[in-house]
Amino acid sequence: MDEPHPAAVRAAICGDAAAFEELVRLYQAQVFRFLCHLVADRSVAEDLTQETFLRAHQQMESFRFQSKFSTWIFQIARNAGIDTLRRRTRRHRALELVRPASSTAGPEARSELTAALASLPRKLREALVVVEVLGFTYREAGEMLSVPEGTVKSRVFHARERLAEWMADVEDDADEM
């Protein structure tokens, strides 16, 4: 994960709009991607990406350089996403696990894997996305998700285990055809 130059962060804290814009452009794609996985809705993720940076701007003065800036910004994104998930009714949970009929080779498989990822419980999903997709370490992810490092490690493992089971089923189907 790219980190901004500390001078750019300090300038943004001091109200430099150009510096803040630089931070938005540095992280907006990854924040959007993270939120797409978290809330499983592109249009909602777009709103939340916007909200993330508005919240970040409001709270810039509280950034104390005690963590990576990227960890801090994704923490805000996660909070925004969780607020939205909370609003959904309990019944309106993630997609039911899909069972693709094709192999995992092409772009279709990729979208199917994304759907399978969306079907994981949120805690497993967000841990895997933070570590696997965004490339944070367990320690950084633990800081972001407010859980111990060992919990992140365990959640990532269980998320991978479930996706691997799903992939094994798909491969078995492909073998039978």
Partner: protein, 618 residues
Amino acid sequence: MRCERAREAVSASADADLVDADAVRLDRHLSSCAACRSFAGRIERIRHHLRFEAVDEVPDVAPIVLASLRGQGRDRAPARSSRRVPISPPRLARIAAAFLAGLLVGALLARGSLDGPDVAVAAGLPDRVVAAQADLDALSTSFSLVERGWHPDVPERRFRATLRYRSPESLHLHLRDETQYPSNAWVRNDVALVVNEDEWWTSGPRNCPVEAQPTCTPETPRTRVVEGREPFADATPIPLDLVVPVRSFTLSAPPEVIGDRVVDGRETVGVAVTAAQAAPLLDALRPAGNLRDFHPADRVELWLERETLVPLAFRVIAAGGSDRSRWAASRGYVDEPGTAVLEVEATSVAINRPDRAEALPDPPDGATRANAGFRPGPADATPTPRDLPPGFVPYRSGSVVTAGGPRVDVRSWTDGRAWLTVRSTRGWAGNRLFGDLGPLVRPVALGDGIGYLSEDGSRLGIHAEAVDLVLSGTIPEQTLVAAAASLDVTSLSIPPDWAEAGTGTFADARRALDRLLTPRELEGFGDPAVRVRDGEVTMAFAGPGSRGFLLIQTPGSALTPPLEPDVRELRVRDVPGRFSPSRGEIEWVETNTTISITSATLTAEELLAIARSLEASP
């Protein structure tokens, strides 16, 4: 190295978190274990797919964010920023996390005292609400809506609204914003929701954060259209609690009765509940747009028409306390405790007059359209319950076919506003119950077989030979169980490797712990879902609306150090304990067991009341 440990090591290795010695042992294991080699290969392919997934069209939010910030700088009055309470990101995170759980609590554990006639009214009301849904076929209302505290510069917003409903699945809700805004820069919160059986659409402004208003809201409303909607689909909900508040009163304790009123010439009975309990009703007003949020502990005074129990008026009154203040500050609200932050009142009402129903409007041109994949048809693969509730007649049926998903056959039945669906699929490979029942379920006997109820009893999953089913609806739990038991399928226990395999009974929980504590005389919650795993007993108690709590008991003599800096000490059951406001959790140690009660919406006092009610299970 055993396979389970090897697979954990494969995962850690992928994240460069494996010490050398373990790496050597892993290599040795992989060289002799084909299954784990396959696992490692799949982990690598998953990584490749996810890291290099195509992200088509990432939106550029920078222009709108920066424009919003420029607008804030121009428009923000100095007094506004001084009123706001600064919130550090971790604190905001904790506040958000407290509301994440969603399933947790808000019980009226300590209700006001009731007098003679009110006791009878209150005692029977929840069941009457649930029963009333079958007699409601049409509703046409106009109502006024006043919202307060949404934005410091717009202390009050006023709306005129209409609701047209015809059972079972036709509804039009329209909110027209008549607020006098400070300038033309503010976008009106005009909202529409139309449900017409298999088509569903909403229109309203984007829900920008309060602090970014007014410049962040685009003038063009967002319109979403979903076609191919299956009957009573969760993802495209029809807000039936505006018609009769069934979900707000299913599992409810007798509510506090606050008196009688006449609304639009009709006699009503008034009851008071929490916003957590009335969440399905309050959420129904904001299918789109930017109406404000309400704190779960806010008081909701609700006036129900005496005969039909249609809600004709309600208001939300801001609760007090430091946690409530912090919640409001995190959203940019300035609420005085005790003030009404929402007032809704019907100005004209027609009940069961289908002739008053009007044609439903079509969605605006140019709206974004999506297809949910439902196609009408016979749904032959889904069995019909022999034991349907009286008065229920067949409604829509068909199949849902989506790219990459299993085919799901759906049948539904209705009576007035009440409904029941049975969904089935063959070839289910989810490694958990089909039908999104949630992580904690309750086993229930179905004749010689077994089914699994969701925490709130609104869904029942069945795993059977070659087919998996889920029943859901607005009917009482025992009626749902009877319908499930009458299906012509042989239900089975779930396989041991499914996610719900830890599901247990009280007997299992008692065997796991020498001294199991359970709440005594707990009104307003259903039977708990129980999970026993590695000696830890988890019980999930669901109530009406979004109420519920988790009770977790684990062998141990000490609490782990708290992660949150705002943890407070308190005494629980006469021993030292702690309360985490951000997680809505009290924890303590008692008789070599660590115990926690967690809720997103209960106050510390309510959590303590539950703790006090615990007693050792015989």
